[in-house]
Amino acid sequence: MLKNLKISRELILIFGLILLAGLIFILSLSFGSSYISPVTVISHFLGLEAGSYNFTINILRLPRTLMAFLVGAALSVSGLILQANIKNPLASPDIIGITGGASAGAITYLSFFSADYGIGGLPFAAILGAAVVSALIYFLAWQKGVSSIRLVLIGIGIAAAVDALVTMIIVFSPISTTVQSYVWLTGSIYGTNWEDLFQFLPWVIIFIPLAFAFYKSLNLLALGDKVAAALGLNIQLNRFLLMTISVALAGSAVAYAGGVAFIGLIAPHIARKMGGKSYSILIIYSVLSGGMIFMAADLLARTAFLPLDLPAGVFVSGIGAPFFIYLLYRNRNQF
């Protein structure tokens, strides 16, 4: 009896989140340099508008909005896994330098290789950058196993170093790409088209379900390494695979949206606050909350100061930075 009630509570929450995401989605398509009423947006999708908004909605706003949702979802799940994997609520791909590594990879590629090899190699360059940085952090933090506080501190140090590296690459890159690079670094999905979206989509379609397949491992890791190992979990293997998923999600998201910060930190926390007891539920909450936050941030960024189209990352950081300080304050007794 009680158990059934619990399941329906979770279902109601998920349903509520989907509704809210749907609302933001419709609003994202409504607002912009020209206003289209939400009712019109809905009737457009029902095929009742005779294609009068084909350009504004289908070409300009729809791919960008969908991209916002997917990027937010990818970063959020990446952060959730990272926090579980290294058992630290402060962990997030941007704080420990994984996003920075991806940025360095992407900027290097954009500046020096994209002219010759096309844009298709960008996600791989970004993921390679993210993987190199995570390997480096792991290597430096390793001392008979990985202590999570060491890992976070080393990660913060590396994040700073990688940021410096990125600046240096930009300085040495062709003048024409400098301003673009800076906008991209803050996290912007300005000008996303369907092609970008379809290139990013496979990463999300593969790695988010893959994360879901590991929900039992994540549940066990939450009980502590010794208990998990005694229950039959191969700790090192699972750690490695989870890290790979996390890096792939963060790296590919950065490749298409730039160095968006803080989503990987905030969204998983919101998911936890909603009371998910198992990672199967937490992953779903994270996908929805992360997607929603970035969608909302992008909506604000491109409408709040019309006709300026600001990078969405600025708005996420605006909420994210104070939230990080709050987390540090709340966890101050743990370190």
């Binding site: 009680l2 158990k3 619990k6 397949a213 039992k216 549940n219 066990l220 939450a222 009980l223 502590g224 010794k226 208990v227 190992a229 005694a230 229950l231 039959g232 979990l233 191969n234 936890r272 009371g275 998910g276 007891k277 198992s278």
Partner: protein, 266 residues
């Protein structure tokens, strides 16, 4: 072939040997308790028997098979281990915790089966946790929480159960509660139980077989009545004491005498 034994086992952290060339057989269907001073290596020994620490030399054999050659899940179906409790996972209910004990029996794509659910219910009943099943672990008292951890280990449904100081942080009445529960499990299902205990008197009362660990090996082992005397305690714990017979159970009862306080009495 013993149910669980060590052969020429050597254990080390870095280069410091903790256990050196140890042969030890655990008697099947009995309660074995490791005793020894702080840092004697009894917990390390227990960890290696649970496959959590690889030997530098020798092996741990589970029914004749090298435990480090078996898969993690295979071991987890035969042998359960409860480490010293430390982390309290956030937002997990007692039932969810106990369900985790069924992990070794599930494939990655399977949710818990009706067989799993039946065992979880039975374990919750046996440990008296049915009424607390939907409570958050973090909202329970220390004694109840330890019971929940034990229930998780029991859900693993193994012949062998290893416990590292399961009574630490519990008050005396909860210590006795927990040990009574383990005693019952041992008598009812003939499960082999191996644990590290600090309380010497409770160890003597509940153990069928006592193992005193000292100097990187086993100093003495056998029935508590045969093993525990003043000399052994002096050697193993560097403690002066008198051993009397427990007026209720007849097992050895250790009265530590120390030095200073005794001189005032005499």
């Amino acid at each position: 072939m013993s149910i669980l034994e060590t052969k020429n086992l050597s254990l080390a952290y870095d280069k410091d040997k903790i256990i050196d060339n140890l042969d030890l057989k655990i008697p099947e269907g009995e309660i074995t308790i490791f005793i020894g001073g702080n840092g004697s290596g009894k917990s390390t020994l227990l960890n290696s028997m649970a496959r959590l620490l690889k030997p530098v030399e020798g092996s741990v054999e589970l029914k004749g098979e090298d435990i480090n050659q078996l898969s993690t899940k295979e071991v987890a179906k035969k042998l359960a281990f409860l480490p010293q409790s430390s982390t309290i996972p956030e937002g997990i209910t007692v039932r969810k915790l106990v369900e985790q004990g069924r992990y070794p029996y599930q494939k990655w794509y399977q949710a818990s089966s009706s067989e799993d659910q039946k065992i979880v219910e039975k374990v919750l009943k046996d440990t008296g946790l049915l009424e607390l099943a939907d409570r958050d672990l973090s909202s329970l008292s220390g004694g109840q929480r330890q019971r929940a951890w034990l229930a998780m280990v029991l859900a693993q449904d193994t012949e062998i159960i290893l416990l590292d100081e399961p009574t630490t942080y519990l008050d005396l009445s909860h210590q006795v509660d927990l040990l009574d529960l383990l005693y019952e499990l041992n008598k009812k299902d003939q499960r082999t139980i191996i644990m590290v205990l600090h309380d010497l008197n409770l160890a003597c009362r509940y153990a069928d077989h006592i193992v005193a660990v000292k100097d990187k090996g086993v100093f003495a082992q056998g029935k508590p009545e045969e093993v525990i005397d003043e000399e052994v305690i002096k050697e193993v714990f560097d403690l002066n004491c008198q051993i009397v017979s427990d007026p209720v159970f007849g097992t050895p009862l250790c009265i530590p005498t120390g030095k200073n306080k005794l001189s005032q009495v005499v």
